[in-house]
Amino acid sequence: MKKALLTVEDLTISFFTQAGEVQAVRGVSWHVSEKETIAIVGESGCGKTVSIQTVMGLLSKPGSIQKGQILFRGEDLAKADKNRLHELQGNDMSMIFQDPLTYLNPTMRVGRQIAEAYLQHNKATREEADARVLEMMRLVSFPSPERNMRAYPFQLSGGMRQRIMVAMALVCNPAVLFADEPTTALDVTIQAQIIDLMNSLKTKIDAAIVLITHDMGVVANMAQRVYVMYAGKIVEHGAVDDIFSNPKHPYTWGLLYSIPRLDAPVKGAMEYIPGTPPDLISPPKGCAFAARCRHAMNICAQQQPPFFDFEEPEHCAACWLYAQDAKEQYADVIEKRGKENG
């Protein structure tokens, strides 16, 4: 097993709002190694965005870290001060966001923005910076870089802007690249281009990629390992092939089977998960998914399940169905539901 580059251990984050304490992240642990691509999937409100914003040092009031460690190259970022985090941002760790239009300065030419990102952390002359900008624009397959580096963001299309964001994120050669829903705001045909771009970059750069998304299709295309999050906790984790062909957690089943698939039959019945995610101001004391799970048992309402391991390496799920006492009882259910994908 490769040595982890970034390890998040039992991270717990709460937001202290007018209405009460919102327990946005309730003890999550994940890690990523060099040159690896992982995906954290879940719906809005599950805590995935808050988690990586915190790792990047972008967590702001009224949010605060309650517990846990963020170990990056041996250093615990949860305890780091603002200045240290600023040193790392854009440099050792960088992020691309969902909507490039709001994250690019509309009054500055894109070439200059990439140069600025570089000059923040590196001493260089104007010429050296510009050369680096061209290098990055070629890396992201930007057409006519010499001419286009003088363009303003509004003159570019969504796909082009996303490429600029990628270039800005990679200009300082970060060790970890976070991608927060990088394709959600894009049209399908452009999305395909960006996915292709990011996959091709994997061979050219050293960065580990942490992908945040709710789109299982994008996950299937890009990730090597997957963490499934629900209501502030990780419910399942495994290699991408295992998660898709042999999913174990009922939420993962629900997620995979309620998404319309291009290769499903016409007018096929659509499965769905009933109910809505719980309010994290008063999260249930048991498993947060129990209220919506058709396989829920009494213990699910009373105690939060620990992780149970499976045969395949690194594949585990937090579900009482896999407890010793339950496994046999529900074996056929598990068997059936696990194979429904594909």
């Binding site: 008063s282 249930p284 829920a296 048992m297 213990i299």
Partner: protein, 304 residues
Amino acid sequence: MDRNQLYESLNPDLLQTEEMVRPQTTYLKDVWRTFKKRKTALVSAIILVLLVLLVLFGPMMNPYNYYSNDYTAINSAPSAQHWFGTDTLGRDLWTRVWVGGRVSLLIAILATLFPFAIGMVMGGISGYFGGKVDMIMMRTIDILMGIPTMIYNILLIVVMGSGNISTLIIAFTLTGWMGSARSARGMVLQIKAREFVMASETLGASPVRIIFRHLLPNTMGIMVVGITLTIPMIIFAEAFLSFIGLGIAPPNPSWGQLISNAADVFKNYPYQFIIPCSFVSLTMLCFNLMGDGLRDALDPKLRA
């Protein structure tokens, strides 16, 4: 629960029912909460409430009325008998200030509410229909607003005859509806683009329904702020008109009247001038601060 029961199918009673756990807040409660945080606004609001109470009950607090002359006690400084002193005709100033306050505030409130109501309807119609209707309305307003309001007011009052609460209110209404029409129109244009308005249209709603049920109610936030910030302007305008002799005629007091009377004897008896002036200033200040606080409280982006 024994081991076997634990792994049986879930008994739904065991689930915490978390139906709508958060306390039910309405929009108004939210606004009030944010408003309270702005101390200046809160204090201003409290002061205004006190002022209104004094205006209503102040005159009853001593045995004097506002019109009886007492030649034995002219121009006496504030004392135990006359808390604010007396004026040049021996009339009790405490009573006159509060009775005058009733007039000034009444005019200010009515002369703000009427033009706002008219302006909202005009602005709503203009904004909703757009096109020619909008263009004509807006150009008319542009022209009307080009002439200074004071000159208008003065002309109107000279024509209608001064000295009356109603003439003042009519004059202010005729000159004041344009501002609120413009801001109502601006808001309506924004709201018109929201899907709930389209939903109403596609249900077959008539323009009247859309303007009065959907568009205008959603402008109330801005309108209320506008009203709180216009009232002090009217108070000042009335004081000014009374000062130059076109406002409330004696012996009926209004704050402007009182200030006007006191100007002549300012050198010798400054208290007669300072007291009503202070109340005018204080009222204006409080309305302005309260209006500011309201504006911030109503701004969804600043909501905590």
